[in-house]
């Protein structure tokens, strides 16, 4: 059980190793996120996608590992960098891609775009364009689960930047006071937009902030889905038993800077290279092979299947109709 002090744990040194089945599904999720994001970046660079794109490339292990701990009816809140979270919670790639392409068949009928892709029926309470905006909402969903006695749990994703928002501190304190069933998963990708962590907060491990609220916090390697799973899974189980919130900090890195096209001059080249060398996907592939969970051949078959799924998602998006201008007036009220 993590205490108030941050500690870093290594894979296999703790219980809660996921079953082979779960490990395989985590792999497929990571490959899906990776391929979807690569393709989205290509389409964006080719100017097929309007707006802008916050890429999840490099952070796949966090969403895949954390969402693997959840029931289908559990909730998450996502962020502006949210494609990974919602794929991990089970969204269809075709309707996601259609949304990115601003089509009427998209999850939000073209009203939301990259930062708002969601499906409430999958327990995703919005991806959010306001940094820290989802944190009080997640906390309210946890209150709702408690009041309705459903044993549902909420995983609230946010970043190191959002850990400095008042909304985080207000909501986390409230969750502590009421012992709400929520896990705050902070994806520390080391930068709030372009501002490096050492320039935006005095602490290194964000999990220490849990101490201020009176619940447990832990910092883990966010580029290893097993480690993420090992930290989030007991936190989810505690939440489900009514034992209150936990803060799990996952240390990771956003490969492409804040948005696609961000030159990222504020990041030393060596730092980017070092994090790319810690690429969560091949690393997890080595783990799966070494532990006899999946063979290279099985992994290649997953990659092939995912590649096809992403391509057909792109086709679906491209073939889908645009919304009509007047659709802008729908969906505000009944």
């Amino acid at each position: 059980m993590p205490g108030a002090e941050a500690s870093t744990i290594a894979a296999d040194h703790r219980p809660n190793i996921p079953s082979d089945e779960v490990m395989k599904s985590i792999y497929e999720t990571m490959v899906k996120i990776r391929r979807f994001e690569e393709r989205a970046v290509e389409l964006f660079m080719a100017q097929e996608l309007p707006g802008f794109l916050h890429s999840y490339l490099g952070q796949e292990a966090v969403a895949a590992g954390a969402c693997a701990c959840l029931r289908e009816d559990d909730y998450i809140t996502s962020t502006h960098r949210g494609h990974g979270h919602v794929i991990a919670k089970g969204l269809r790639l075709d309707r996601m891609m259609a949304e990115l392409l601003a089509k009427a068949t998209g999850y939000c009928k073209g009203k939301g775009g990259s930062m708002h892709i969601t499906d409430f029926s999958k327990g995703i309470l919005g991806a959010n364009g306001i940094v820290g905006g989802g944190i009080p909402i997640a906390t309210g969903a946890a209150l709702s689960a408690k009041l309705r006695k459903t044993q549902q749990v909420v995983v609230c994703f946010f970043g190191d930047g959002a850990s400095n928002q008042g909304s985080f501190h207000e909501a986390a304190n409230m969750a502590a006071v009421w012992s709400l069933p929520i896990v705050y998963v902070c994806e520390n990708n080391l930068y709030a937009v372009s501002t490096a962590q050492e320039r935006h907060q005095r602490i290194r491990d964000i999990s220490v902030r849990a101490t201020a609220f009176g619940f447990g916090g832990i910092s883990v390697d966010g580029n290893d889905p097993i480690t993420v799973y090992q930290a989030v899974s007991p936190a989810v189980e505690r939440a489900r038993k009514g034992e209150g919130p936990t803060l799990v900090e996952c240390k990771t890195y956003k490969w492409l800077g804040h948005y696609v096209g961000d030159p990222g001059a504020y990041r030393p080249k060596e730092e980017v290279a070092a994090w790319k060398a810690k690429d969560p996907v091949p690393r997890y592939e080595r783990y799966l092979e070494e532990h006899g969970v999946m063979s290279r051949l099985e992994m290649e078959s997953v990659q092939g299947r995912v590649k096809e799924e992403v391509e057909s998602a792109v086709d679906f998006g491209r073939r889908s109709p645009s919304p009509s201008p007047h659709d802008a007036l729908q969906d505000l009220e009944d």
Binding site: Y75, T77, G106, Y107, C108, K109, G110, K111, G112, H116, T118, D119, F120, S121, L125, G126, N128, G129, I130, G133, I135, P136, I137, A138, T139, G140, A141, A142, L143, S144, A145, L147, R148, G166, S167, E170, A171, N173, M174, V177, Q330, D331, L332, E333, D334
Partner: protein, 323 residues
Amino acid sequence: MRQILYKEAVAEALGEEMLRDDRVFLIGLDIGRFGGTYKATQGLWERFGEERVRDTPLSEAAIAGAAVGAAMTGLRPVAEIMYIDFITIAMDQIANQAAKLRYMSGGQARIPVVFRTQEGAGRSSAAQHAQSLEAWLAHIPGLKVVLPSTPYDVKGLLKTAIRDDAPVVFIEHKLLYNTRGEVPEEEYLIPFGKARVCREGNGVTVVAVSRMVLKALDAAEQLEKDGISVEVIDPRTVVPLDIDTIVESVKKTGRLIITHEGYTRCGVGAEIAAQVVEKGLYFLEKPIKRVCGLNVPIPFAPVMENFVIPDSAALVRAVKEIL
């Protein structure tokens, strides 16, 4: 008919809806054991318990956001923001989240949340406890904005607000809580978007918001003695706005005064005036007049506070000016 206080009517509406629908719960600072700063939730904690009448930490953003999250997941929260001045701290959750989540998701979510708050000057509360900020909220598509001026209206409109599937900002007035009025024992609802003609007349139309309704009625009574007939209209909800009732009245009187405590500049009076011009310019025989809060922060000293907030004498003067 029995008469009860405005604050008692609020508590009655909340209690009845909580009894009718166990998805309804209250969340806010000091609303439980303490009974609310203005005692509008008095007795509910004792009746419904601390789970459903939920005292919170002093955290407006979290109060509002938790209500949004609960509303998205099957409950019908009524969140109290103690003073509308404090809504500034909760504004992201109200204006960016509650108001937009349904639209941004292509119509997927319903956010049946009520944000109860109170506004208004007159107690020397100074600039951060006495504003009337309904125009801020009315500006945001996706929010309904309600400003009841009587015990009857506050009860019927609050029950409607709680049953509405969209976010509602429900703005009471701190100096109305202890006003008394007729409220029937039997249940009733008041629909949104239906103005109340509080007093009929054919000389001048006065559209009054929140507590200004009382001052407008007082002014109308004084003017009647001079043989001047004033029609007083309370829009009751500024979003949706019942512009037709206002235009119909202007058709009859040819003269329009709009009065509210909120700042004149970009206040809801500006919107009402614009709509009247768009729909009924040629009915107007005189320019529209706004008798509203002056464009300064609310000062503390009673002499200054009374100067920046319109009173019935100001309305009497305004009526005489456009006769």
